[in-house]
Structures are given as structure tokens and as C-alpha cells.
Amino acid sequence: MIKAVMMMNTQGKPRLAKFYDFLPVEKQQELIRGVFSVLSSRPENVSNFLEIDSLFGPDSRLVYKHYATLYFVLVFDGSENELAMLDLIQVLVETLDKCFSNVCELDIVFNYSKMHTVLDEIVFGGQVLETRSDEIMKAVEEISKLEAASNSISLVPKSVSGWRGGR
């Protein structure tokens, strides 16, 4: 099972954090900080895997990938395959890239809810739900569209320009 998905920038600022079991805010922060301090001390040319029992309890592994200013991190237990998780990050990034075209750190910050929408299509309750980025895109677009429709009908007309990135 996947325990957490995190994105943080190279300065340790969390950009997105989702824990699939509830954790209090302080604990979340502690984990994010812990993960960042481990990641930032990793040399560049090494594996993308970490055994991270010290933070997440026994049998926890972590897979991360470093893109430009961002770390993408997946934390999971022994029932997942490390290499496959690495590809799951790849799926996520490819999808985001399709969503935002040349996704960058700011896209992630400002489109917080859309990020979650994408993530929810990929990982559902800690299990891998979908890995075809076209399908994910389709689902996300469908939601955006419907939301846009409901938005333009029921909300202030001025918001038309506002929904696009947000949803």
C-alpha cells in the first residue's frame, strides 16, 4: 500500500502532501522535514530508493525522483515494487506535464486542487488505480469541464477566467 505522496522543492518547502492514513498536522510536518533532510543529503548519482523505517515504521520504503526544483516522493510498504513505484512517479509527472504543458513548480502550488484531482485518479486510498496517463487526463478533463459548466451557470460571470487553472 502507498502510504504517502509528497512533492517538495529543493529548499524543503512542501508543495503537495497526501497521506493515505490520517496523521495529525504536526506529524505530517515532522515526516516532511525528515524526508527532506534525508533526500537533501543524498548524493546525486545514487539509487532512487530508501528504506525509511525510522520515519514511517517498519517495512517502509521510499522512492523519490528529483526533477528540476522538485522532489517527487512516494512512501509505501513491502507490498509494492520499488521499480514500479518509480514508474508511478513517472506516470504522475507525465500526466502533470500533459495537464499543464511544461509543468513547473508554480503550476503545482497554484493548482492545488487540480493536482489532487490528478493524484486521486492515479492513487486511490493507497492503491494504484490507474496508470494510463491518457485515461487520467480524460477523467480530469471531464471533471474540469463539468465543473466549468456548473461554475459558469451558478457563479458570478466574472469567474470565467478564474476556473481554468484552478480546476
Binding site: Q11, K13, K18, F22, R42, N45, V46, S47, F49, E51, Y67, A68, T69, S79, N81, E82, L83, A84, L86, D87, L88, Q90, V91, K98, S101, N102, C104, E105, L106, V109, F110, N111, S113, G125, Q127, L129, T131, D134, E135, M137, K138, E141, E142, I143, K145, L146, E147, A148, A149, S150, N151, I153, S154, S159, V160, G162, R164, G165, G166, R167
Partner: protein
């Protein structure tokens, strides 16, 4: 000017399609991005919280505004601040009819609340309603929320709807309903136990995606109960077969692999089902063999499947052919330049080694390279492998390596783990007690003393006390002397861990003067130094005082005159007035003991009697006479606390017992004991008036001395009943068996799964040792000692491990002797490549490229993403938009124009540059010079 800039930025954002948030939110993100310190960030967030608190109180907030506030709350909470003041607004938002707002509400609620939060009750009704919605997107949103918000009590409220959704016409809904049901099963298996047949049913779903989703719950179910799913073996195998034969729609391909995630799940399930089941395993041989042939090892996902095959093979009962294929795959992994693959290779090796122990030997040099790799993850994995393949012949080398590594790291968690592994291996395989004490225990204690389990210390003391467990008194005393000598030496080092000092004190007390080499005053002086230097550590002081007592007792008993050193005297005096009752009592006991005559002392503290069993009279029957007497003279009979409080029928026996033990020790023993000697009365009367909180924390300490006779108090550490049960027996036995004579040591290994390694490794060894002259001889020696023969005698091994000197060869086994000059057999040629030693010299980005399966090699392009997607992206997006349009023709007419402008926008470097400029403006400081921030993603 500043204003102009701001306007410019907003314009820039507007022209880009914007980030869809208000200026306030942008400013918030920006100022946090620019914050120079955590304190500054906190200040910004706190003022934001104030603003939000105020705004949320305003009446009639427009919904769109409200949505933004909620998002800001989520953002604040992600930064680690409490946003609970706004939870209720998020909850309210889930009730909204507007999908956008509803989804925002659900999102916020799933991030804010745990399943037991009070507000959940306000949402359950909404979820129920939404699950019945006609709009499948609403249903999906509700299913998503269910996963996080429903607890055991609320499961029944939504369960019927979720079960209905298993037959929904949309596959996306069916998939999510299965996952939700799976989640329920995880939370409370009993609540859905009558529904698990649904998972089986869904396995036959028309949609492969739904079938794939079903594998997740089935995996869990099969993990719990393999037997009831044996009938599905052939179904799983045939599904896997169909997947590998590309019978699934092309859209399930990922990097040219057909549905890899489904394949991996299936392989995992097969590993469970085939474990220990010959007939089930046989069904799987075919498809596994096919997979090895078909898997594309040039992509990351292909390797993921290969690894999963290896894993499955190590779990089922494999055929020799499959084992061979797995070994081949592992050697490919190990030879790869990618650290990830090496890691998987080492992991696979660790799994396969259980089945075919000799497999490790072909890879010994690769393993050693991994051991010396700068990558910590890889190193640790390799230590795990070594741990699995430890046997008595290589334990010294492996443990040495582990200790070296342990000393070099700062990570306490891992230090603890590796220390306990060292101890475990040492206890199991130690070639001699001498080695065990000198090398392992002392080193481990010195460097990780505060991290190891206290029972390890007790094992060590017991080992020293019991010696070889045979009639070899001479060897025993030699062992003890060497322990004493090494400890006297180590003691002078500053800052030793407390636990280690306890062991040292105990050993010095028991055996410091035992063979007459050291005088009592020398040892007692040392002990006083310890008590002095670590005066804040009461446990150590207690041990030191007890040790002093033993030293003096032995002196008195042997008829010598005792000169109490002045520093000793002052230590005793200081402790007589100590705040710790434990230390006080010890000091009084010591003082009293000094006044006794030799015969009495000898019966109190007999020499070297720490191993003798002492029976503790738990019922305190020796008090019967006294009680009888007291009752006769009119005292009330004792009524237990339980009876007194009327809880006689209590169900919780365990906790009762648990509670009673400590109170026992406190209450009776100090007050009601008969008084056999004047010494004891003194002690106990002193004890009473000074209640100490630390008393309890030291429960393992011999504080209860007053309850038992003086004679026992000296051996208390190994005596107490409860203590013995807690620390003792299992490890105690293992240490004795390991520590005994060589034939018994061999016995100890036979319980280990790797026992076959030793014998079978003998033959092939000479062949690989002889391999290639160009490999560092040092490394070769290490390899030889790690993977080498097992049956060499102890002295032989000693010399081999002692600094890895070539002296090894002089010993008894001719084939081992001269590893280098033998000519290399042809089949091992590839192994001798010097690349094996120069792994780290590879291009850092190679790995990424390999993972990406990208055809683009053009690192100089300004927009690689563009190159990759320029042909594909617009096409697919527009088609999907079209299909969406047709599907949603009723509602989506609202505003497709703007939407399309976004999707068809496509990547261009101009835009990327703008974005980058914005990023910089916003203070995010990209580290890369690359305008397209994701360029290195694609190499």
C-alpha cells in the same frame, strides 16, 4: 514602480491562462516563497490565518470566494499550521450542489479530518446522497471521500450503496467502488466479510481496469488466507498469460509493456499462492518462463516485472530451469550501471540465496562492490544480504564490516538495527567467547552502547559468568581475565555508554580480583573513578557500589584485611545521604558488610556464585510464622486490593497481575518483613521516609533487596524472577550454545536457514577465487573470506581475518592456498571485467534516460518536452475533448472555447521562458538554468 511590477505580473499570468487564484493567494504563495527564514514564514502564515479568520466570519460570502478561502486553508495546513477554525466551512461546502464546490469541500475535508472527527457525522448524510447521484462524477467524489472519512461505525451507513455501485455502468465507478470496499476491509474486516465474494465476481469484469483494481483486495485477502483461494491459481495464471500475450487493448500498454502494473500484482498474488504448494507452482512455470523471455530489460518497468518474477520464483517451489533464469536476471541487474537495478539485484540475491545458496558466489565481487558503494541504500541492502548469508566461517569478516559501518554512521535508528544484528550474529556464530567479548561486545557497546537492548548486556555478563559452560575452569578464568583486562583498558576512555559501564562494573566486581593479578585496592580505585566520573548516572553508580561490595566481601572472606580507600570512604558517605533510595541502601549495605566477620560475609556473597539458581519465594511463605503471630495477637488478616475494592470478578487478570508486582515490592517488603539481622532493619527504616519517583523507574534494579536476604542482594541482576523471564531464557540459551565448544557451535548453525551454504560452497570456491589477476587482491581476499569455505578450523579463520593477511594460505586446506596464480576458467571471463570495480564512474543522467525510454538524445534542445510531445499531444487532447463533448453534450456547452484554447495551447519555449521568469519573480529560485524546467526529465 513596485505597483507596476505587480500589475505586470498579473498581466503575465492572465495571458498565460492564469493560475486561477486571486491576487491574495498569489501574494501569499509569493511571500512565503521569498521568506528567508522559518520564523518569517510563520509570521506570514499567522497573519494570513488572522485574515482568513476574519473573512470567514463575514456574512454572505460569495461561493467562489469561499472556495478560495478553503484552498488557502488547505495550503496553510500543508505548511504545518492549524486551520481547524475553518473545518466547518469545508464541511458545509461538501453540501453544495455545485460540483466544483462540492469537490473542493470533499478535498479539504479529506485532508483536514480523520475518520473519528466529530464533524464527520455531518458529512455522512451528504455522502449517502452523493453515492446515489445520477452524475457519476459526484459519485466518484463521494467514493473518494469515503476512503478517508468512513470509520468502522459509519461503514454500515454507506455499505449498501457502495455494493450497489459495484454494478455501475461506468467502469471508473466500479473500479473505485471496489477500492472503497477494499478500504473498508482494511479498516474493519468483519464489516465486509459477507461481501468478499464480490471481489471474486469482479475479477471477471469486462473491463481490464476493473479486473486490475480487484487484484488489490484479492492480494490482501490471499495474504490472510491462502487456502481458500487456491482454486483461483489457474485463473490468475491465465489472466497473466493473456496480458503477456497482449490480449488487452493497446491503451493498457505502458512503455511498450502490456499492463505492467497488473502483471506485477498478479505475480505477487502468484507468489503467495505458490508458496509451499508444488502443484500450484507447477501451473505457474510456463508463464513465468515466458515472462523471462519476453521482458524487455531495457526499460525500468520491464525490470520491475523481471524483479517481480524473481521474487515469485523465490516464494514458490521453483523448477531448476526457472532458478537458472532468475539467476541470470539477477546477474544482469548486478552488472548494470544503475544503482536501482543493483539494489534490486542484491535484494533478489538475498531471496534466492535461501533456495540455492551457491548462487551468491558467482556474484561475490559485485556484492563487494555494492558494499563499498557510496550509495547508502545499496550498502544497507548489501549488509542485509550479508546478514542473511552469515555462517560461522565468515561471521568475523561480516561482523567486522558491520561494526566499521556502524561506527561511521550517525543515523541512530539504523545504528541500533545494525548493532542488534551484530549481536545476533555474534551470539549465533561466534567462533570463540574471546572473540565475542573482545571484538563484538566491547566494540558494539563502546559505539552503540546506549542503543542496544539491555538484554544484550545481561547476556554478555552471563556469558562471562558461565564461561564455556563445561568443566574447563582454566579457560573460564582466562576468559574472565581477558575481559577484566580489556575493560580496565577501556575504562580510561571518556564518555562511555551507561550500559557498557554497568557491564564493566559488574565484571570487575565479580572477577576483578579473582585470579590475584589485580589488587583489591586497584580495582576498587577504578570503580570509585567510575562512580565519580559518571556521578549523574545513578544506575552506573549503583553497579559500581555493588561491585565494590563484592570486592570487599571477597577480601574479607579470604581473610585478608580490608583497607577502604579514602575515595571509597567518601563515596560511601556521599551515597549514605543520597536522594536515591537505591543508592542509599546499597551504601548502607556496604557499610554494614564491612563490619561483619569473614564467615558471615562468605555466606552473603560467595565467590563466583552469580550463576547459581536462587529460588525466590513468591508467596513469601517464610513470613507465615510472623503473620500467624501477628494475627494471633489481634491483627487484621490481609485482604488483597482487589477484594477490598470489590473487583474480585475482574476480567482483566493480566493487568491486575501487572499492577500488583511493583506495589508488592514496595508495600510489604519494606514494612512487614521479619528482622533477621540488624543490618536489614537499618536499611529498611531508612528507606521508608524517602519516597522517590525514580524508585519505580529503577524497578529492574535490585531495589527490592530488602525483601530477600542479604545473601541474594549481590547477585540480584541475574536472580530476580521477573527479570529472568524478561531478559533471559531464549537468548541465554542461544548464547551458550554458540559460545560452547566447536562441535556445539556447529549445532548452533544447523538451526540457521543458510546452513547448506557452508558445505556446498566448498567446491566451487577454488574456481572463482582463481579468476582474474587484475582484481584488487585485497578485494579478492575479502570475497574469499565472505563467501569462502566454512570448515576451516578456528585458528585458520583467525589468521585470515586478522588484517586480511595472506597468511591464510598456510593453513590446512590445499585448494584454498594460492588463489591468484591459477589460470582463469573460460566461463568466468565476463566476470573479470574491470568495470566491476569502477561502477561509480557512470553518467548520472544515464539512469534517467533509461527510465524514460526516451528516444530523444538531444540534451541541447531548449524544449525536450516539446520535441517529445509536439506531435502527440495536440492530437490526443483534441480528440479527447471531442469525445467528451459528445458525451456531455447536455451540460458542457457552457464554455468550451476557453478550455480548448488551453488544451491546444501546446508547449513552446517562449511560454516556458515566461513561466520561468515568473518563477524567479515569485522567489522560487529554480536551481536549473533550463527554461523548460522539466527538461532534464527527458534527458
Amino acid at each position: 514602480m513596485e505597483q507596476l511590477k505587480t500589475i505586470g505580473r498579473e498581466l503575465a499570468m492572465g495571458s498565460q491562462g492564469g493560475f486561477g487564484q486571486s491576487k491574495e493567494f498569489l501574494d501569499l504563495v509569493k511571500s512565503i516563497g521569498e521568506a528567508r527564514s522559518k520564523a518569517e514564514e510563520d509570521r506570514i502564515v499567522l497573519s494570513e490565518i488572522d485574515i482568513l479568520k476574519r473573512k470567514l466570519l463575514e456574512p454572505d460570502i460569495p461561493k467562489r470566494k469561499m472556495k478560495e478561502y478553503i484552498i488557502r486553508l488547505v495550503y496553510i495546513e500543508m505548511l504545518g499550521h492549524d486551520a481547524s477554525f475553518g473545518y466547518i466551512h469545508a464541511v458545509k461546502m461538501t453540501h453544495d450542489d455545485n460540483l466544483l464546490l462540492k469537490r473542493t469541500g470533499y478535498l479539504a475535508v479529506t485532508l483536514f479530518l480523520n475518520e473519528d472527527h466529530d464533524l464527520i457525522i455531518l458529512i455522512v448524510n451528504t455522502i449517502q446522497k452523493d453515492l446515489r447521484s445520477d452524475n457519476y462524477l459526484v459519485v466518484c467524489a463521494a467514493l473518494n471521500a469515503i476512503c478517508r472519512l468512513i470509520n468502522e461505525e459509519t461503514i454500515p451507513a454507506v455499505l449498501p450503496q457502495v455494493v450497489d455501485l459495484l454494478n455501475h455502468h461506468k467502469e471508473a465507478v466500479r473500479k473505485k467502488a471496489i477500492m472503497a470496499l477494499h478500504r473498508f476491509h482494511r479498516k474493519s474486516p468483519s464489516s465486509v466479510s459477507h461481501l468478499i465474494s464480490n471481489f471474486r465476481k469482479r475479477l471477471c469484469d469486462n473491463d481490464p481496469g476493473v479486473m486490475g483494481a480487484t487484484l488489490c483486495p484479492l492480494f490482501d485477502l490471499i495474504t490472510e488466507d491462502v487456502a481458500s483461494y487456491k482454486d483461483l491459481v489457474s485463473s490468475f495464471v491465465s489472466i497473466l498469460k493473456q496480458v503477456t500475450e497482449r490480449r488487452l487493448p493497446k491503451s493498457y500498454d505502458y512503455h511498450q509493456m502490456p499492463a505492467p502494473f497488473i502483471q506485477i500484482k498478479l505475480l505477487k498474488i502468484m507468489a503467495l499462492l505458490g508458496s509451499g504448494d508444488k502443484s500450484a507452482s507447477e501451473i505457474m512455470y510456463m508463464v513465468l518462463g515466458d515472462l523471462f523471455r519476453k521482458c524487455d530489460s531495457s526499460t525500468n518497468i520491464g525490470n520491475a516485472i523481471l524483479y517481480e518474477c524473481i521474487r515469485s520464483i523465490s516464494c514458490i517451489i521453483p523448477s531448476p530451469k526457472l532458478l537458472e533464469a532468475a539467476a541470470d536476471a539477477i546477474s544482469k541487474f548486478l552488472k548494470s550501471d544503475s544503482h536501482n537495478l543493483k539494489y534490486m539485484g542484491i535484494d533478489g540475491l538475498g531471496r534466492l540465496i535461501k533456495i540455492s545458496p551457491d548462487i551468491a558466489e558467482q556474484h561475490q565481487l559485485a556484492v563487494i562492490d555494492c558494499l563499498e558503494d557510496p550509495d547508502d541504500t545499496l550498502k544497507r541492502k548489501t549488509f542485509e544480504l550479508l546478514y542473511k548469508m552469515t555462517k560461522s566461517s565468515n561471521v568475523e569478516v561480516i561482523v567486522d564490516r558491520m561494526i566499521d559501518y556502524m561506527i561511521s554512521i550517525n543515523d541512530n535508528h539504523y545504528k541500533t538495527e545494525i548493532a542488534s544484528r551484530c549481536v545476533e550474529l555474534a551470539e549465533q556464530f561466534a567462533p570463540s567467547n574471546q572473540w565475542f567479548i573482545q571484538v563484538i561486545m566491547n566494540k558494539v557497546f563502546e559505539h552503540a552502547g546506549d542503543l542496544v537492548n539491555i538484554k544484550v548486556a545481561h547476556n554478555l555478563m552471563r556469558l562471562i559468568a558461565e564461561g564455556f559452560g563445561e568443566d574447563d575452569d582454566d579457560a573460564d578464568s582466562k576468559l574472565r581475565l581477558s575481559a577484566v583486562e580489556s575493560y580496565l583498558q577501556i575504562m580510561s576512555e571518556p564518555k562511555l555508554p551507561s550500559l557498557f559501564l554497568q557491564v564493566i562494573s559488574w565484571v570487575l566486581g565479580e572477577y576483578g580480583t579473582a585470579d590475584g593479578k589485580y589488587s583489591a585496592s586497584y580495582i576498587s580505585g577504578k570503580l570509585c573513578d567510575v562512580a565519580d566520573a559518571y556521578s549523574s548516572d545513578e544506575t552506573v553508580k549503583g553497579y559500581a557500589v555493588s561491585a565494590l561490595m563484592k570486592i570487599y566481601a571477597f577480601e574479607i572472606a579470604s581473610g585478608r584485611k580490608v583497607d577502604v580507600l579514602p575515595e571509597c570512604q567518601s563515596l560511601i558517605e556521599e551515597l549514605l545521604a543520597s536522594h536515591s533510595t537505591d543508592l542509599q541502601q546499597r551504601a548502607y549495605e556496604l557499610q554494614a558488610l564491612l563490619a561483619l566477620d569473614a564467615r558471615a560475609v562468605e555466606s552473603i556473597l560467595p565467590l563466583d556464585a552469580s550463576c547459581e539458581d536462587i529460588e525466590v519465594d513468591k508467596d513469601l511463605s517464610f513470613l507465615n510464622g510472623y503473620i500467624q503471630q501477628a494475627i494471633e495477637s489481634g491483627a487484621q488478616p490481609y485482604i488483597s486490593e482487589r477484594e477490598r475494592s470489590g473487583m474480585l470478578e475482574t476480567t482483566d487478570y493480566h493487568s491486575q497481575d501487572h499492577h500488583e508486582v511493583p506495589s508488592h515490592a514496595l508495600r510489604f517488603e519494606a514494612y512487614e518483613r521479619p528482622k533477621p539481622s540488624s543490618l536489614r532493619t537499618q536499611a529498611s527504616t531508612e528507606l521508608v521516609p524517602v519516597p522517590e519517583p525514580s524508585y519505580y523507574s529503577e524497578a529492574h534494579q535490585p531495589i527490592s533487596t530488602s525483601s530477600v536476604s542479604e545473601r541474594e542482594s549481590s547477585e540480584i541482576k541475574l536472580r530476580l524472577d521477573g527479570v529472568k523471564q524478561k531478559w533471559g531464557r531464549p537468548s541465554y540459551q542461544s548464547s551458550t550454545s554458540a559460545s560452547s565448544t566447536p562441535p556445539q557451535a556447529a549445532n548452533g548453525t544447523s538451526s540457521h536457514p543458510d546452513v547448506g551454504v557452508g558445505s556446498s560452497s566448498l567446491k566451487p570456491r577454488s574456481s572463482y577465487e582463481s579468476k582474474k589477476p587484475e582484481i584488487d587482491p585485497e578485494k579478492q581476499r575479502l570475497a574469499a573470506s565472505l563467501f569462502g569455505g566454512s570448515s576451516s578450523s578456528r585458528s585458520d579463520r583467525k589468521s585470515s581475518s586478522g588484517g586480511h593477511k595472506p597468511a591464510k594460505g598456510t593453513a590446512s586446506k590445499p585448494p584454498k592456498e594460492n588463489p591468484i596464480p591459477v589460470q582463469p576458467p573460460p566461463d568466468l571471463l565476463d566476470f573479470g571485467e574491470p568495470t566491476a570495480t569502477s561502477v561509480t564512474a557512470t553518467d548520472p543522467f544515464k539512469e534517467l534516460e533509461g527510465l524514460m525510454d526516451s528516444s530523444s538524445q538531444d540534451g541541447g534542445s531548449t524544449d525536450v518536452m516539446g520535441v517529445l510531445y509536439s506531435d502527440a499531444a495536440p492530437v490526443t487532447t483534441t480528440t479527447s475533448v471531442d469525445s467528451l463533448l459528445s458525451e456531455l453534450s447536455d451540460s458542457s456547452k457552457g464554455n468550451p472555447g476557453t478550455y480548448q484554447s488551453q488544451t491546444s495551447k501546446g508547449p513552446n519555449s517562449q511560454e516556458a521562458l515566461e513561466k520561468d521568469a515568473l518563477v524567479r519573480q515569485m522567489g522560487v529560485n529554480p536551481t536549473s538554468q533550463n527554461p523548460t524546467l522539466f527538461k532534464d526529465l527527458l534527458g
